[in-house]
C-alpha cells in the first residue's frame, strides 16, 4: 500500500539518496544502553498525562566517535486495567495494584508484565521502553471464555458414548415375558 502522503519525511532524488547514504554510513551510532537499574513505581491515577512524543525523546544525530557514557533518560510506563486494583507482576517481582507507574531507563528493553485479578483470566502484556508507554489492559471474566479469540469449541460427545463417564448401572433383570415377540 502507498503510505499516506503526510508521512513522507524526505523525498530524495537518487543523488540525495546517495549523499544521505554517505552521511549515514560515516556516522556513529545511537548505541543501546541496556541498563537494568532499579525501577521506580508509583500509583498513577493521572497516567493519562503521559505520552511524551518521539520528537521530544529523539536523540541528536550521533557523532563519529562514541559519546561519553551518561545515564540514559528515563521513560514512564503507566499500567491501567479494567477492572482496576489488579495485581501486576514482572517476573518474580510484584509491582503493586493498578493503576501504577513504572520508570525505566530509555531503550532498556521491553517489560513483560502479568496482570491478575480474582475471577478473571490473567493477561500477559508487554510495555516498551523506547518511549513513554501507557497500557490499558482489559481483563476478561472466566465465565466469558468464549468471547476470547483462540477459545476452542468443545467437542460434542458422541451420543450414548461418554468415555469419561462411569459405566451405567446394570438394568434390573427383566421379568420373563409372557407376551409374544413383536412381528
Amino acid at each position: 500500500m502507498r503510505p499516506a502522503g503526510g508521512l513522507r519525511a524526505a523525498v530524495l532524488s537518487v543523488a540525495a539518496s546517495v549523499a544521505i547514504g554517505v552521511a549515514g554510513s560515516g556516522c556513529g551510532t545511537r548505541s543501546a544502553v541496556p541498563g537494568d537499574g532499579p525501577i521506580a513505581i508509583s500509583n498513577a491515577a493521572d497516567a493519562g498525562a503521559l505520552g511524551g512524543s518521539l520528537a521530544t525523546l529523539a536523540r541528536p544525530p550521533s557523532a563519529v566517535l562514541p559519546v561519553p557514557k551518561r545515564p540514559p533518560p528515563k521513560v514512564r510506563l503507566a499500567v491501567r486495567s479494567t477492572p482496576s486494583k489488579a495485581s501486576v507482576t514482572w517476573g518474580k517481582k510484584a509491582l503493586g495494584l493498578t493503576p501504577l507507574m513504572i520508570e525505566r531507563p530509555q531503550d532498556s528493553g521491553p517489560v513483560d508484565l502479568v496482570v491478575r485479578a480474582n475471577g478473571y483470566f490473567p493477561v500477559h502484556v508487554r510495555a516498551y521502553s523506547f518511549r513513554n508507554d501507557v497500557l490499558a489492559v482489559k481483563l476478561t471474566r472466566l465465565s466469558e471464555r468464549m468471547t476470547l479469540f483462540g477459545a476452542k469449541k468443545e467437542l460434542a460427545p458422541v451420543e450414548g458414548i461418554d468415555p469419561l463417564a462411569p459405566p451405567p448401572p446394570s438394568p434390573p433383570a427383566a421379568p420373563p415375558s409372557t407376551s409374544p415377540p413383536p412381528g
Binding site: 500500500m1 502507498r2 503510505p3 508521512l7 513522507r8 519525511a9 524526505a10 523525498v11 530524495l12 532524488s13 537518487v14 543523488a15 539518496s17 544521505i20 547514504g21 549515514g24 560515516g26 556513529g28 551510532t29 545511537r30 548505541s31 543501546a32 541496556p34 537494568d36 520528537a55 529523539a58 536523540r59 544525530p61 563519529v64 566517535l65 562514541p66 517476573g91 518474580k92 517481582k93 531503550d107 532498556s108 528493553g109 521491553p110 513483560d112 502479568v114 490473567p122 493477561v123 500477559h124 502484556v125 508487554r126 516498551y128 518511549r131 489492559v137 481483563l139 476478561t140 471464555r145 476470547l148 479469540f149 483462540g150 477459545a151 476452542k152 469449541k153 468443545e154 467437542l155 460434542a156
Partner: protein, 684 residues
C-alpha cells in the same frame, strides 16, 4: 578524540615483526587443514599508490592503508579522491538498511531496530535489547547479523573459549582423529550401547583371529582372509574411528566453551547437552547443517581455532566490503551470463563479491590466518570505534549507475497443488525437482542482464486455524503475474493473521529471573527471527485510476527459516523467503540504485488479545518498521512454473488433517483477507 602516540606507533610496525614478537593464544601456527582450498590467484586492480601518511588526523578523517606490509594512517578524503574504497571496520557499522538517516530538517529518523542490531552484533544485548549475560554470545551470522570486529578480536585473543586467553584452549584436541571421519552416526542411548557391545565383541573376535594368524594388524588379517572378514574389519575400523573422533569432538566443543554452563553431558553420548553444543558450534561457524555430526560440521570441527576464526573474519569482511563497494553480483548467475559492453565486446557478468573481497584481503594482509592474527594483535579495543581501511577494488562494471533499470523475476519452479494426503489418508507424491528462484536484473543498452539468481520459496499446504478453533490444511499459494515492489521495510513487523495457530504465538522467556510465558514477539518482529526477517519488500499490483494497490499478502523477505529455503520439501505461506544476510544485501543494493522516498518509522499501535490454555496474551505492536518507497516502483514478474500432480489450480477450501478429530458440523470457510490468504500480515 586524538589517537594516542602508542597506538599510532603500532601502525609503523611491519606485520612480520608484530607476528614474531607476540605471544599466541593458539598453540602453534596450526597446520592448515587438509580440506582448506588452495588460495585463488590475486585480483589485478592495477597499480596502488601509497598515500601520504598523516598520523595526527582526527578520527573522522582517519583511515588506514597497508603499504609494503606496514599500516599507515592516511586522510580518508584523499583516499577516496585517489580511487580507494573505504571499508568500515567500526563496531558501529550496520548494513545500509539500518544506517542512521536524517530528515530534511537534519533530525535523525529513528530506525528502531538499528540499536538492537548493534547490540546483537557486539554480544552486548539480546533480541529484545536487554543485556546479555556475561560471557554469553549471540552467534547470529546464520540469521543475518555478523559479529563486530571487536567480537572477532576477542575470539582471536582466545577469550570466550575455555582458555580465557591463556594459550590455545584446544591444544589437546587431536584434530587428525576428527578429520579421519566424514560423519558420525548418532543413535539413541540404548541403541548406542547395543552397537558398542556388538563392535567390541567383533573387535575381540578379530583380535583373536589376528593372533592366531600372526598378522601384525587386523587390516593385514583382512587382506589375507575372506570377504566376510574384510567387511567385519572395515566395520570395526570405521566404528572405532568414529568413537575416537566423537571423543575429540566432545573435547573440542568443551574447549570452545560451547556446552551450556549448567549442561549435564554424559561422556560418549549425543545427548541434549551435546546437541545444543553442536548447534552453538554450527551457529558460531555459520554452518547450514542439521544438529548432527555430518560432513560440513565435522570438517569445521576438524579445523584449528585459528582457521575457523579466520574463516569468520572473511565472512564478516565480505559483508563490510559488499556494503562499502555497494555491489551485489556474487556469481550466482553462473559463468555463462554475459552482456555486450559499449565497446561491442561480449563481457561476463563478474563475481564482484569474490573479486572485491579477495582484493581487500590481499591488500590488508588478511588472506591468511596468520595475517589475521597479526592484524588483531596490533589492535587496541578503541580502534574499532574509528577504524576504516582504504583498499583499491576492481572497477565496477559499466552497467552500474546510481539509477539502474532494475527488475525482478521469480520463477516458482515445480508447483504441486494436490493435497498432502489422499482420501484414504495416504501421503501423496510431493516431489519437486525444480525449485523456486529469484533473479534481479538490470536493463542496459537494450539487454537484460541478470545480477543474481538465488533460491527462494513459494507457498504450499500449511496449517491454518479455522473459525471453530481447529487446525486444517490450507493451500497458501504464491501469486503469479506482474507485480511491483513499492515499499521496502527494514526491521519489518508481521501482524499475525487470525488464522495463525495460537500455539506459535506464545513462548517461554526468563523475566527478572523467573521463567514465564510471553507473546512470541520473535515471530512478529522486528527481529531476525521474525516471519519477515530483517527486511521485506511488498509484492503488490499497482492501483490504477486512483485506486489503491492490490495486496495479496505476498512479500519477498529475509528469513531465519533456513531449512524452508534449502529443504526440497519445505514451503512458505506464500512469500518468497531469502536468507537474511542475502535479503539485507539485496535491498541495501536496490535502495541505493533506485530513486527512493524514505518515509521512516511507521506508527502502528496495534493490539490484540488471545487465549492460550488458561491465560490471555495481549500482542502490542507499536510500529511497522522503517519504510522506504521506490518511486517509481520496481517491476516484479512471478512466473507460473511447472504445475505437477492432478490438481491444476489451487484448492481454496480447508482440508481436514487425517490425525485430528473435528467437531460435528460443516468445515468452516477460510478467511479471505490478504493476510489470511498468504500469511502476509494484516495490512492497513
Amino acid at each position: 578524540m586524538a589517537p594516542s602516540v602508542h597506538r599510532l606507533a603500532l601502525f609503523a610496525v611491519p606485520l612480520a615483526a608484530a607476528l614474531a614478537g607476540c605471544s599466541s593464544s593458539y598453540a602453534t601456527a596450526a597446520p592448515p587443514s587438509p580440506a582448506a582450498p588452495a588460495a585463488p590467484p590475486p585480483v589485478d586492480v592495477g597499480p596502488i599508490a601509497a598515500l601520504t601518511a598523516h598520523p595526527d588526523l582526527p578520527a573522522e578523517r582517519r583511515t588506514v592503508q597497508v603499504v609494503g606490509g606496514a599500516e599507515r594512517v592516511v586522510d580518508a578524503e584523499e583516499a577516496v579522491r585517489g580511487g580507494f574504497t573505504l571499508v568500515d571496520l567500526r563496531d558501529q557499522w550496520t548494513p545500509y538498511i539500518f544506517t542512521e538517516i536524517a530528515d530534511p530538517a537534519g533530525a535523525p529518523m529513528i530506525n528502531r531496530y538499528r540499536s538492537i542490531f548493534l547490540g546483537l552484533a557486539a554480544d552486548r544485548s539480546d533480541a529484545d535489547g536487554q543485556p546479555l549475560p556475561a560471557r554469553e554470545h549471540n552467534y547470529l551470522e546464520l540469521f543475518g547479523i555478523p559479529p563486530t570486529l571487536s567480537v572477532l578480536a576477542a575470539r582471536f585473543r582466545g577469550e570466550g573459549a575455555g582458555g580465557q586467553g591463556g594459550g590455545d584452549p584446544c591444544a589437546a584436541v587431536d584434530l587428525a582423529r576428527i578429520r579421519a571421519v566424514t560423519s558420525i552416526p548418532l543413535r539413541e542411548a540404548k541403541s548406542e550401547l547395543k552397537e558398542r557391545a556388538r563392535i567390541d565383541a567383533l573387535a575381540r573376535k578379530l583380535e583373536g583371529l589376528r593372533e592366531q594368524a600372526h598378522a601384525a594388524t587386523i587390516a593385514e588379517l583382512a587382506s589375507t582372509e575372506s570377504a566376510k572378514l574384510t567387511d567385519e574389519v572395515n566395520a570395526v575400523t570405521k566404528a572405532l574411528a568414529a568413537r575416537a573422533a566423537f571423543a575429540e569432538v566432545e573435547k573440542r566443543l568443551r574447549c570452545e566453551g560451547l556446552f551450556a554452563p549448567r549442561a549435564r553431558h554424559a561422556t560418549g553420548r549425543f545427548d541434549d547437552a551435546m546437541r545444543e553444543a553442536v548447534i552453538r558450534f554450527q551457529r558460531k561457524h555459520k554452518l547450514y547443517d542439521a544438529a548432527a555430526l555430518r560432513p560440513d560440521t565435522l570438517a569445521a570441527l576438524g579445523r584449528s581455532l585459528l582457521e575457523n576464526d579466520h574463516a569468520a573474519l572473511v565472512r564478516v569482511l565480505t559483508e563490510r566490503v559488499v556494503a562499502a563497494a555497494n555491489l551485489l553480483e556474487d556469481g550466482s548467475v553462473g559463468t555463462a551470463a554475459t552482456y555486450q559492453g559499449a565497446s561491442g565486446q561480449t563481457l561476463p557478468v563478474r563475481n564482484l563479491v569474490d573479486e572485491s573481497l579477495r582484493a581487500a584481503l590481499a591488500q590488508l594482509g588478511l588472506d591468511t590466518p596468520e595475517g589475521a592474527l597479526a592484524f588483531f594483535r596490533r589492535r587496541s579495543p578503541e580502534d574499532f570505534s574509528w577504524l576504516r581501511v582504504a583498499v583499491k577494488l576492481p572497477p565496477p562494471p559499466e552497467y552500474h549507475s546510481p539509477s539502474m533499470d532494475l527488475s525482478v523475476e521469480i520463477d516458482r519452479g515445480d508447483v504441486i497443488y494436490d493435497p498432502l494426503f489422499d482420501e484414504k489418508g495416504r501421503p501423496t507424491n510431493q516431489t519437486r525437482r525444480r525449485f523456486p528462484m529469484i533473479t534481479l536484473r538490470t536493463k542496459y543498452r537494450e539487454q537484460i542482464i541478470p545480477l543474481l539468481r538465488w533460491r527462494t520459496t513459494i507457498g504450499g499446504w500449511r496449517s491454518d486455524l479455522a473459525s471453530n478453533g481447529y487446525e486444517y490444511y490450507r493451500y497458501k499459494g504464491s501469486d503469479v503475474g506482474p507485480r511491483v515492489w513499492r515499499n521496502v521495510v527494514a526491521g519489518p513487523v508481521w501482524i499475525a493473521p487470525n488464522s495463525t495457530p495460537v500455539r506459535s504465538l506464545v513462548k517461554y522467556k526468563v523475566v527478572q529471573g523467573a521463567s514465564q510465558q510471553v507473546v512470541n514477539y520473535d515471530e512478529v518482529g522486528p527481529g531476525y527471527l521474525s516471519a519477515y526477517g530483517l527486511v521485506a519488500a511488498y509484492n503488490v499490483v499497482p492501483g490504477k485510476d486512483g485506486k489503491p494497490d492490490w495486496d495479496n499478502g505476498v512479500r519477498v523477505h529475509g528469513s531465519s527459516e533456513i531449512l524452508s529455503i534449502r529443504n526440497p520439501n519445505a514451503y512458505s505461506h506464500g512469500c518468497h523467503r531469502l536468507m537474511n544476510h542475502l535479503a539485507v544485501r539485496l535491498f541495501s543494493f536496490v535502495l541505493q540504485h533506485r530513486p527512493v522516498v524514505i518515509t521512516g518509522d511507521r506508527t502502528l499501535n496495534f493490539t490484540r488479545q488471545f487465549l492460550w490454555k488458561e491465560d490471555v496474551y495481549e500482542m502490542r505492536l507499536p510500529s511497522r518498521g522503517f519504510w522506504y518507497e521506490f518511486d517509481p516502483p520496481i517491476p516484479v514478474n512471478v512466473l507460473e512454473g511447472n504445475i505437477l500432480g492432478k490438481a491444476k489450480k489451487p484448492i481454496t477450501i480447508y482440508v481436514p488433517k487425517p490425525e485430528v478429530e473435528y467437531p460435528p458440523g460443516p468445515i468452516p470457510i477460510p478467511q479471505g483477507s490478504p493476510e489470511a490468504r498468504a500469511g502476509g500480515g494484516g495490512d492497513e
